[in-house]
Amino acid sequence: MQTQKDGLDELFRPEPCAEAERMDALPQVSYAADVVKRFLNTPSVIVFSVILAIIIACCVLVPILSPRPITGIIDEAINHKPSAEYWLGADKFGHDFFTKMWKGGQTSFKVGFFAAVLQTLIGVVVGAISGYAGGRIDQFIMRVVDVFISIPYMVIVLVVRLIMGSSSYTIIFALVVTGWLNTARLVRGQILQLKNEDYVLAAQSMGVSPATVLFRHLIPNTLGVVIVSFTLAVPQAMFSEAFLSFIGMGSGEVSWGSLIRTGMEVRFRHPWQLIAPSAVLALTMLCIQLLGDSLRDALDPKLRK
């Protein structure tokens, strides 16, 4: 027996390995932690997160800290060229363009963020209900989505604007009305896949209420897709806001879109007033899109090493 045992030990002698490597091999890293780790491991993510953070910080802080006013009429600064005092020059009201640009960013971010949050929420709930309920309800909801997706969003904006007047909330509302459709489709697709999983069937057979199954088990599992679609919805909404401001159907508040619109008019005399807001808008889009992409890659279990 003894010899036999020894022989087995000999046979199954563990391969010597470094401690660290052993830790790595342990399947104890949670999915979330892994996602975060892989997300942060991409060098470009760090770079673009920092840029985005700087942009957001500027939007928040510059209008507060800037010594240059952006209200009232400052006669002596009107159409000032860029200088040490006015970094990007001053606009037709004598407002410091640098400060005003970041003020405009507040509107853009406000619209982008709130529109994205609301449309994602609505999209998730409707999509989940549609996918989980299945049958006629699903059919009906999906047909409604089909119809709404075919209405050009300009029409919706027109109707909403005329009823609610022009403000950034109008724009947010209009964007939400048109924006939730894609999220709903996406989430529905996910739920359809997930609802036949064992743990869902188990929960159902234990008599857990459908609402609990939906909100406890199904929706949390679609989170990855939802987060990605959210990160794409933010720039989409910012883009739409810029476009609407550009064609004069905007919120009436200073935003990057409205600054680009006026910049367009004065581009021969003050090219910076067109270039600067365009560049900041594009850079912000770039950052958010790229972070969204990396997040998607990080969340994708198939790409897990």
Partner: protein, 568 residues
């Protein structure tokens, strides 16, 4: 094979033709290409008076008389006589005809003038007959919703325009008016072709084949939203003096491509942006004083049931000291020279002073008379102390404890950058100077217009250009139901006084008296009424040197190309 042969022959002919053309005598003149900013909706002279549709109708429709460079030229009428400026006799030329050669008689013309009252779509133009005796009666019938036959009967009976014989038309005005000559030159006084009109009804003028033309040019092709091609009308009575064979009116809505097309030689004339004017002034010609911009204060804002929305705020807005405060808180010079930076100048009064007038000098007189006269009402620069003290007076009179109690004031304007800039200026300037919270509400033109009608605004930015340059056209609108939606209720005595003045201006023939009255009426409304005058706008035009005899002008169509010729 035969087909090929045919094609070859055709090709050969074409080549030969092309080769011959330069040598031939009937060489075409170069095509004048004008860039228009908006799509032309109709070319019916009885339908539209906006400056951009007039560009077309003035080329294809011949009214009784024609205006060119401030001179009154003969039109359909080869001459006119009047003894008292009230009864006018027009001698219609014997060879007057449509472009297809059909003659135009005095009866046809009179019929056209009567028919205009039956047309709902001509509502904007019909006002150009206002000076004619009997206009009010016919208009009342038309406005009562009567059917076309009733209106026609009323027009035949009451409208004092008659054909005395085949070549004589008599027009009797309700009061002597030497400046009615301007009106006779407007294309609303051009006839419409009866057979086509009866065939097409409201679609008359909606395409090149659905309209009769009798002007120097005819529309040979109308590509909607793209371009109108005008060709010389060989049957035009004055065809010998028309040089150009072809004029193209190209529709380019956005300013960037318009400027680019001019640079690329695809356009000879175009309206430029003011930014372009400031950076490249060499190519441009500035037309000053095309339109007047002002702010209207709603003294009496009501809801749909006619009740005051906010009694206290309305009282404040109606207060003279409030208007004075705003007038003094705005730096008009800075606003127009630096902020808008377009070819505008500050308006202290409201009849446009720089316009060409055809046969009298009333306007120049007015401009000279009031020179600087209202600078205390609508000052050129701001006076903060005065603004503050006036606002304090207004607040005290109305009963607001402080400016913070005044609710947000809504300023309605159209959503073009210029209007928005002025509104934004007001937001900033009034807040900084007076602490007044003003909020811009920029809406599409249609929405703005419906707000004007329903009186749904506190402050309104508005501008217009008139189709004739008579001082009465600037005074009268404020008496009419259009802009008298509020202040006539809030200030009935002032309204009665102003109304009486306007009536007298309409009826007097004494030029000095007229000018003095106009000045007085203008001042009255500026001081106590709902008007805060802002600016007289101009426009920058790009102009190539390939043509001469071409003008941009203030009244009527923006481009007067009728007698243009290639530059030598």
């Amino acid at each position: 094979m035969r087909k090929l042969k045919k094609t070859l022959t055709l090709l050969l002919t074409l080549v030969l033709l092309a080769a011959c053309a330069p040598a031939g005598l009937a060489e075409d003149t170069p095509t004048l290409r004008i860039g228009l900013e908006q799509d032309i909706e109709t070319i019916d002279p009885q339908q539209n008076t906006s400056a951009y549709t007039l560009v077309v109708t003035e080329g294809i429709a011949e009214p009784l008389l024609r205006e060119h460079e401030g001179e009154i030229l003969p039109g359909l009428a080869e001459s006119y006589t009047t003894d008292d400026y009230q009864t006018w006799l027009f001698n219609i030329r014997a060879d007057a005809c449509w472009s297809d050669g059909t003659p135009i008689t005095a009866e046809d013309i009179v019929w056209s003038y009567q028919e205009i009252f039956t047309r709902a779509e001509s509502a904007k133009v019909v006002v150009l007959f206002k000076a004619v005796q009997g206009y009010d009666d016919v208009k009342a019938v038309a406005d009562s919703g009567a059917d076309a036959d009733t209106i026609r009967a009323a027009a035949q009976e009451s409208l004092a325009i008659t054909a005395l014989d085949e070549h004589t038309i008599q027009v009797v005005l309700s009061a002597p008016s030497p400046w009615a000559l301007d009106t006779f030159c407007s294309t609303a006084w051009a006839p419409i072709k009866r057979d086509l009109y009866e065939q097409y009804g409201s679609a008359y003028g909606s395409s090149a084949d659905k309209i009769g033309m009798n002007g120097p040019y005819v529309v040979s092709e109308w590509r909607f939203n793209e371009q109108l091609t005008l060709e010389k009308n060989p049957n035009y009575w004055n065809a010998d003096n028309i040089v150009l064979d072809k004029v193209e009116l190209v529709i380019v809505q956005a300013v960037e491509p318009r400027v680019n097309m001019f640079k690329e030689g695809k356009l000879d004339y175009a309206v430029a942006s003011s930014d372009y004017l400031l950076t490249m002034p060499d190519d441009t010609e500035v037309l000053e004083g095309t339109s007047w911009y002002f702010m209207l204060v709603n003294d009496y804002r009501r809801d749909v049931d006619g009740n005051l929305v906010d009694e206290k705020l309305s009282a404040l807005l109606a207060n003279d000291h409030f208007s004075a405060a705003i007038n003094n808180a705005i730096n008009r010079t800075v606003l127009y020279e630096s902020v808008l930076a377009n070819p505008a100048y500050v308006a202290t009064g409201y009849a446009i002073p720089g316009a060409v007038n055809s046969n009298n000098t009333a306007h120049e007189t007015i401009a000279e008379l009031r020179d600087g006269a209202y600078s205390d009402i609508a000052p050129l620069t701001r006076d903060m102390e005065k603004a503050e003290s006036e606002l304090a007076l207004a607040l005290a009179e109305v009963g607001y404890a402080s400016v913070a109690d005044v609710p947000e004031i809504k300023v309605v304007c159209a959503n073009t950058t210029d209007y928005e800039t002025v509104a934004e200026y007001l937001e900033n300037a009034l807040d900084a100077a007076l602490g007044l919270k003003v909020k811009m509400d920029a809406v599409e033109f249609k929405v703005r217009d419906s707000r004007v009608i329903s009186g749904d605004y506190d402050l309104l930015l508005f501008g217009w250009n008139n189709s004739t340059n008579d001082v009465i056209d600037y005074l009268e609108p404020f008496e009419s139901e259009l802009f008298a939606t509020g202040w006539n209720f809030a200030k009935p005595e002032l309204y009665a006084q102003y109304s009486a003045m306007v009536q007298e201006i309409t009826s007097t023939t004494d030029l000095d008296r007229r000018a003095a009255l106009a000045l007085e009426a203008e001042q009255l409304l500026l001081e106590h009424g709902p008007i805060i005058t802002m600016s007289v706008g101009g426009r920058a035009h790009l102009k190539s040197d390939r043509f001469e005899g071409f003008h941009v002008r203030v009244m009527g169509g923006e481009f007067d190309y009728v007698f243009a010729a290639p530059a030598k």
